[in-house]
């Protein structure tokens, strides 16, 4: 009788079997990985642009000084994408948990079961990486060879550019081979490692999969990260002035900004759970409304649901509002906007560049909203027995629906607002709240330098915050489509 280790084919077979929910989880993981691979390959192409390449029509790519920012933005774009893929890993979790428990009962060791999960995620991410690379090659060829769309009258309807007029994307550059390898292998490897890491607080027993969720979320570490990172950003300019020039002029000093943004974002994301817990504790003893009471108790019992929901949303809002602040600053300083607008400034370099950034933020927000829908729907389906029991004991579905919406959206409101304020303040802290511009031409022909205040981007920031919360509301309400089937009384008769 063989009692060695299972063959890889066995693990693959067990990893790949499953129902519709499992297939959806695998497909969405693959889609997320494909998008991340595409973004990484694009970043690799931008990083590989040399002195003789181009010209490019997109200012952000054409200007060598802005390319590191483009690369950083593309890398940051991978965070909501991969977060989405991580959120998708909970789809069909109850059925998968039953399968894993049955495997343990059949004699699989905990480590073998974890390998099954890692194989599933790694395989899906591998397929996604290949699809992402294929999409990149198609895009590369398309934008290289297709000059655009020309109307019968000879007018150019769509212009993708050419080597003479300027390319839209760096299609004349093939990324370094080692960058290609890193992108293609890194995504599935990272996904598989992430899947194993995600199980670190999970006990897969022969009876069930038990998640040892911490009831009380951490407060000190997120607070330290957020306050430390946020304050450093807000006072970055002042710190720069206080520090010796020899230190500030070092090339790596400029890297402290993205690092501080990341630290602040991590603090905010981790702190979302603490915020939900505190909000729940505040509301639960004070409300008379059953829906709010249920929602508040859920916030204290499962505060990490809030952080799962808000991770990508927070990042999109933080970066989006930061970009709004930067645009006000740069556009004002270059004479593109403001009371002393330069009439000769028609290129609108920064205004147009930040329109591209806005598109990236909107894409990130859309991905985050899709992730929110997944988490909210999964929350309803996973708790179907509890919800069915509550319905059976007389709790109206409408109350449950309101509670589900409140428990998702309420913790998001303060987190999104704090992210927006931090983004705007961070941008002002790093690039200053005043800029020097050319004043009106004097009678003697001279151009005086004037110091003007950078306006606070109230309108775009409020639009971003409002859009984000509205999207969150719509997505959460969308997840209620599963409520009727989840509260079916027959759920109480099914095996747990």
């Amino acid at each position: 009788m063989s009692t060695g280790t299972p063959r890889t084919t066995t693990l693959l077979r067990v990893a790949a079997v499953g129902g519709r929910a499992d297939r959806l989880r695998i497909a969405l993981t693959a889609v997320g990985s494909a998008a991340a691979t595409f973004a990484l390959l694009l970043a690799a192409a931008v990083a590989s642009i040399g002195p003789g390449d181009g010209p490019y029509r997109l200012n952000l790519v054409a200007d060598a000084g802005l390319r590191p920012g483009v690369i950083a933005a593309l890398l940051l774009m991978c965070i909501p994408v991969l977060t989405f893929a991580g959120q998708c890993s909970r789809i069909g979790a109850p059925a998968r948990d039953r399968r894993l428990a049955a495997l343990r009962m059949a004699g699989a060791t905990p480590s073998e079961v974890r390998r099954v999960v890692a194989w599933e995620t790694g395989l899906a991410a591998g397929v996604g990486a290949i699809l992402g690379a294929a999409a990149y090659v198609v895009a590369h060829v398309w934008f290289s060879d297709v000059p655009g769309v020309t109307a019968p009258d000879g007018r150019r309807v769509v212009d993708f550019g050419s080597s003479s007029t300027g390319l839209l994307f760096p299609t004349d550059v093939v990324p370094h081979w080692w960058l290609l390898v890193v992108c293609l292998i890194g995504v599935p490897l990272g996904a598989a490692l992430g899947a194993r890491l995600a199980l670190r607080r999970t006990a897969i027993t022969p009876f069930a999969v038990v998640r040892r969720a911490r009831r009380r979320p951490p407060t000190l570490v997120p607070a330290l990260l957020f306050v430390g990172g946020g304050l450093a950003l807000v006072f970055w300019s002042a710190l720069g002035r206080a520090l010796p020039d020899s230190l500030v002029e070092r090339p790596w000093f400029v890297l402290t900004v993205p690092v501080l943004v990341l630290i602040t974002a991590v603090g905010l994301m981790l702190g979302a759970a603490s915020g939900a817990y505190a909000l729940g504790r505040l509301l639960a003893p004070r409300t008379r409304r059953p829906a709010l009471l249920i929602a508040a108790r859920r916030m204290t019992d499962a505060p990490f649901t809030a952080s799962r929901v808000s991770t990508a949303v927070v990042l999109a809002v933080l970066l989006g509002c930061g970009a709004c602040g930067l645009r006000e600053n740069f556009a004002l300083a270059s004479g593109e906007t403001g009371p002393y607008r330069d009439p000769l400034e028609t290129e609108l370099f920064f205004t147009r560049s930040f329109e591209v950034v806005n598109i990236a933020v909107l894409i990130g927000l859309a991905i985050a909203a899709a992730g929110l829908l997944v988490v909210a729907a999964e929350g309803v389906v996973t708790r179907r027995r509890t919800l069915a029991a509550m319905t059976a004991t007389g709790v109206p579905r409408r109350t449950l629906a309101t509670a589900i919406v409140l428990e998702t959206v309420l913790p998001l409101v303060p987190t999104v607002l704090v992210a927006a304020v931090t983004g705007v303040l961070g941008a002002r802290g790093v690039y200053g709240s005043t800029v020097e511009v050319n004043g009106p031409v004097q009678p003697n022909g001279s151009l005086p330098r004037l110091t003007v205040d950078v306006p606070i981007p109230w309108s775009p920031s409020a639009t971003l915050v409002g859009t984000t919360l509205a999207l969150a509301l719509v997505m959460t309400v969308g997840s209620l489509a599963f409520l009727r089937s989840s509260t079916d009384i027959r759920e109480l008769r099914a095996a747990a």
Binding site: V14, V17, G18, A95
Partner: protein
């Protein structure tokens, strides 16, 4: 198999076994021995600790104190991974329901312990098919558990427990989810097959008809062996 003195060799034993769920003790110092080829029935009321005892014997749970021996091997002292490997080699486990992987076919479910042990798929499936046929469910090889009746699922589950030709099979309420006719069919087939194979069986049940299949019966009350089970039966406690 008998020893030189004529006594049957001990296949499975427990000594002063203790297991608690938090502060609530479930098994309190139980000691027992099961001879090779013997069918032992463990009976008791709900909450008496009989299922917990079985899980300790199967190596699913690690006891807080005491030891479980499988032959000469002290399995209670082994790691979780080693105890898991036991379930795909020397110990077969059968439960009331829920132990089959719903996404795999009956054939794949039965072949699973062999595949987990590193066997070739063709060899594992050949062995699995043989065991399915022995339990008269060979025609269900390509069916999945959700499409089977309770009795069919249970016979597939027992085939899976037997496919590695284990020394010991531990069954917890194997007919608990079945009607009496299906339960009788399952028990008849289980007993016939284990007698043929000389397998040791520990059977946990609260059903007197099922416990009657055992060569010997012990009764648990409040986590301890009850020396006077007849008193309880007289009092109407099953």
């Amino acid at each position: 198999m008998s020893t030189a003195s004529g006594e049957k060799a001990v296949a499975l034993s427990a000594r002063s076994l203790v297991y608690s769920y938090g502060a609530a003790p479930a098994v309190k110092g139980v000691s027992l021995e099961v001879a090779r080829g013997e069918i032992l029935s463990i009976t008791g009321a709900s909450g008496s600790g009989k299922s917990t005892l079985l899980l300790c014997l199967a190596g699913v749970l690690a006891p807080d104190a005491g030891e479980v021996r499988l032959g000469d091997r002290i399995i209670s002292a082994e790691s979780e991974s080693e105890r898991s490997r036991l379930r795909r080699s020397q110990v077969g486990v059968v439960f009331q329901f829920g132990q089959l992987v719903p996404e795999l076919t009956a054939l794949e479910n039965v072949a699973l312990p062999l595949l987990l042990g590193g066997a070739r798929r063709s060899a594992a499936e050949t062995a699995a098919r043989t065991w399915l046929e022995r339990f008269e469910v060979g025609g269900l090889a390509d069916a999945r558990p959700p499409g089977m009746s309770g009795g069919q699922s249970q016979r597939v589950a027992i085939a899976r427990a037997m496919v590695t030709e284990p020394e010991v099979v531990l069954a917890d309420e194997p007919t608990g989810a079945l009607d009496s006719l299906s339960g009788e069919l399952v028990m008849n087939q289980l007993v016939r097959v284990v007698r043929e194979a000389g397998t040791t069986v520990v059977l946990v049940t609260h059903d007197a008809r099922v416990s009657a299949y055992g060569d010997r019966e012990i009764h648990l009350r409040d986590g301890e062996l009850d020396p006077h089970p007849a008193d309880l039966l007289d009092a109407g406690v099953s």
